[in-house]
């Protein structure tokens, strides 16, 4: 039980809790406390120092929007944003209640009356925007994975294809999302023409920009991972006369999983960074738009609210990385490899 729990915590990246588990299982308290101080105490102390320096430094800079916010002002805005979210949800509920009553009354008078159901059109709250951003990056990243992994595998298996693709990869890899965005916007506008779109254009533009920028690390890592598989393992597959597809599924992919996931982690990190920039310009209602709107709004609380977004972006990026890391550990055959 204890070992299973510890394995699960390691897998999910919650190493902080391991000393606590060991402590409750009655393992030498002194060692566990030392581990706890090292794992939890040191980072907490560093964060405290950072907050303190931030507090001191921020007070010294005055901008046209007032003083640069310190930790206290930023925390205030966290509660304000949460309250706004709460209030908006209540308004939304009230709106639907009213609509339902109105429609019920209408039907009572005349059962054949046409009832229209309108959806609530209030402004998205900060938390709605977080969800939009997560969904957008997920779609863009998924598309990038679906493109990059198969091409990477084929390029890794064929030297010719690799030499053909390599210059293209090297040229497109360093391109900034801001350079892609106008082109993507125009292409999406030209090609995505429907009367009732399922997705907003701004969403598709942002997601595609994420795809274009997060494709490359996965592609390169997959190709390198596949081409560096032990040749004898490939020879075993040849002796067994496995066909191309079976060889890929049974030998190539399991052997290069660690490298593929390293690529995916980098890709997701880049995708998340790119998304914020893309949303600013494409006006996709996510965190990027939030930052941009607050900047344009320019009230005395704007900088604090942007700072909340900055920290949110950071924390979510960290969580996303941890999740992919857990997947990587789970799928890798070498459970003892140290992955950071």
């Amino acid at each position: 039980m204890k070992d299973k729990l510890i394995y699960f915590l390691e897998l999910t990246g919650f190493n902080w809790f391991i000393p606590l588990v060991r402590l409750t299982a009655g393992e030498s308290p002194k060692h566990q406390l030392q581990a706890l101080v090292k794992m939890v105490g040191v980072p907490l102390f560093a964060i405290a120092v950072f907050l303190f320096l931030w507090h001191l430094g921020a007070a010294k800079v005055i901008t046209s929007l007032g003083q640069v916010p310190g930790p206290v002002q930023v925390w205030e805005q966290v509660t304000v944003l949460a309250d706004e979210h709460q209030a908006s949800r209540e308004r939304e509920e009230a709106f639907y209640d009213r609509q339902e009553q109105r429609n019920a009354a209408k039907l009572e008078k005349n059962p054949d009356a046409e009832v229209t159901i309108r959806s609530y059109t209030g402004k998205e709250t900060f938390f709605d925007q977080i969800l939009t951003s997560l969904f957008t990056v997920f779609v863009g990243f998924l598309l990038a994975t679906v493109i990059a992994v198969p091409i990477g595998i084929m390029a890794g298996l064929s030297d010719t294809l690799y030499s053909a693709l390599n210059p293209l990869i090297q040229i497109f890899k360093p391109v900034s999302p801001l350079a892609w965005l106008p082109i993507v916007t125009m292409v999406v506008s030209a090609l995505y023409v429907t009367d009732n779109p399922v997705f907003e254009k701004s969403f598709i533009t942002s997601a595609l920009t994420v795809t274009l920028c997060s494709l490359w690390p996965t592609l390169i890592n997959t190709a390198v991972g596949v081409s560096s598989i032990d040749k004898d393992l490939i020879n075993v597959a040849r002796v067994l006369r496995l066909n191309y597809f079976t060889t890929v599924v049974k030998v190539v992919i399991p052997a290069s999983i660690p490298m593929i996931f390293t690529g995916l982690r980098i890709s997701l990190g880049i995708g998340w960074m790119v998304l914020i920039a893309a949303e600013m310009l494409a006006q996709n209602p996510g965190l990027g738009k939030f930052v941009w709107d607050e900047f344009q709004n320019g009230s005395s609380s704007s900088l604090s609210r942007i700072m909340v977004a900055v920290l949110t972006i950071g924390i979510i990026g960290f969580i996303l990385d941890r999740i992919t890391l857990s997947f990587q550990k789970f799928f890798s055959y070498d459970k003892n490899a140290v992955i950071r």
């Binding site: 067994l240 006369r241 496995l242 399991p254």
Partner: protein, 263 residues
């Protein structure tokens, strides 16, 4: 012509920036069914290249390999290979490693039950049933090589190819595995080509020792029949006159007639 395995005037060139490099020149060897043949020579003389050509991993530039009247031109399970570094798939357990081979060779013709029994039977041959559900990273080098041999045997090869199978093991483990291999060979009477650089190993195990000259353009220098009675016991042979005679023949070949100029 009517031998079981016929390596017929095989030469191979490898492309280099300075033109083709002739690694093997006119290698000619006939092997009978059930024979255990060792190929010995200094490192870099192309022993492994011979095996890779028989295995179908390399294509001969001139000449060819004929097995039971059919020319060999690609790898296949009828010429199973035991690699020097075991080459087990690290993400599969020992059982699954053998199972993958059995399924790809006999998957169509045998039932699930038969496949399981055959996998277990082969693991039993190499005395690995006790650890068959362990991962390769959890077992020792010698045990990994045992599983590698079980995997090759499970394909029921017409010729078993072994590329310095015990080269990466310590002396004691190597001796254990050689004994196991002799036991298995007494049972199954496979046709085996083993690449080795170990003189004792060659004399102990083989019916025939093929001695290769040094490269470039390496070829067969001498072929010696080893007519020691089987079963052979390591201890009895240590002081055996014939055994030591064969041994010194090979050593003379390697270190006198074909000594490497620069070691």
């Amino acid at each position: 012509m009517d031998k079981y395995l016929n390596i017929d005037h095989v030469s191979i060139d490898f492309p280099t920036p300075d033109g083709p490099f002739r690694a093997l020149d006119n290698v000619n060897l006939k092997i009978e069914k059930g024979e255990f043949v060792s190929v010995i020579g200094h490192s870099g003389c192309g022993k492994s290249t011979v095996m890779n050509i028989v295995g179908g991993l390399y294509k001969a530039t001139e000449g060819g390999v004929v097995l039971e009247g059919r020319e060999v031109d690609e790898p296949g399970p009828d010429r199973a290979i035991v690699f020097q570094n075991h080459s087990l798939f690290p993400w599969l357990s020992c059982y699954q490693n053998v199972e993958l081979a059995v399924k790809s060779v006999f998957g169509a013709s045998r039932s699930r039950q038969q496949i399981r029994e055959w996998v277990e039977h082969n693991l039993e041959l190499v005395h690995m049933t006790h650890a068959m559900h362990k991962m390769p990273s959890e077992i020792s080098g010698g045990m990994k090589q045992r599983v590698g041999i079980a995997r090759a045997l499970s394909m029921e090869p017409k010729v078993l190819l072994m590329d310095e199978p015990f080269g990466a093991l310590d002396a004691l483990t190597r001796a254990h595995l050689q004994d196991s291999l002799m036991e298995i060979q007494a049972d199954l009477n496979n046709t085996v080509i083993m690449i080795t650089h170990d003189v004792d190993e060659a004399v102990l195990l083989s019916d025939k020792i093929v001695m290769m000259t040094n490269g470039p353009a390496a070829t067969i220098g001498e072929v010696m029949e080893v007519k020691l009675p089987r079963p052979r016991k390591r201890l009895d042979l240590a002081d055996d006159r014939d055994y030591n005679h064969y041994r010194s023949e090979v050593i003379h070949f390697l270190h006198q007639r074909h000594a490497r100029k620069v070691a």
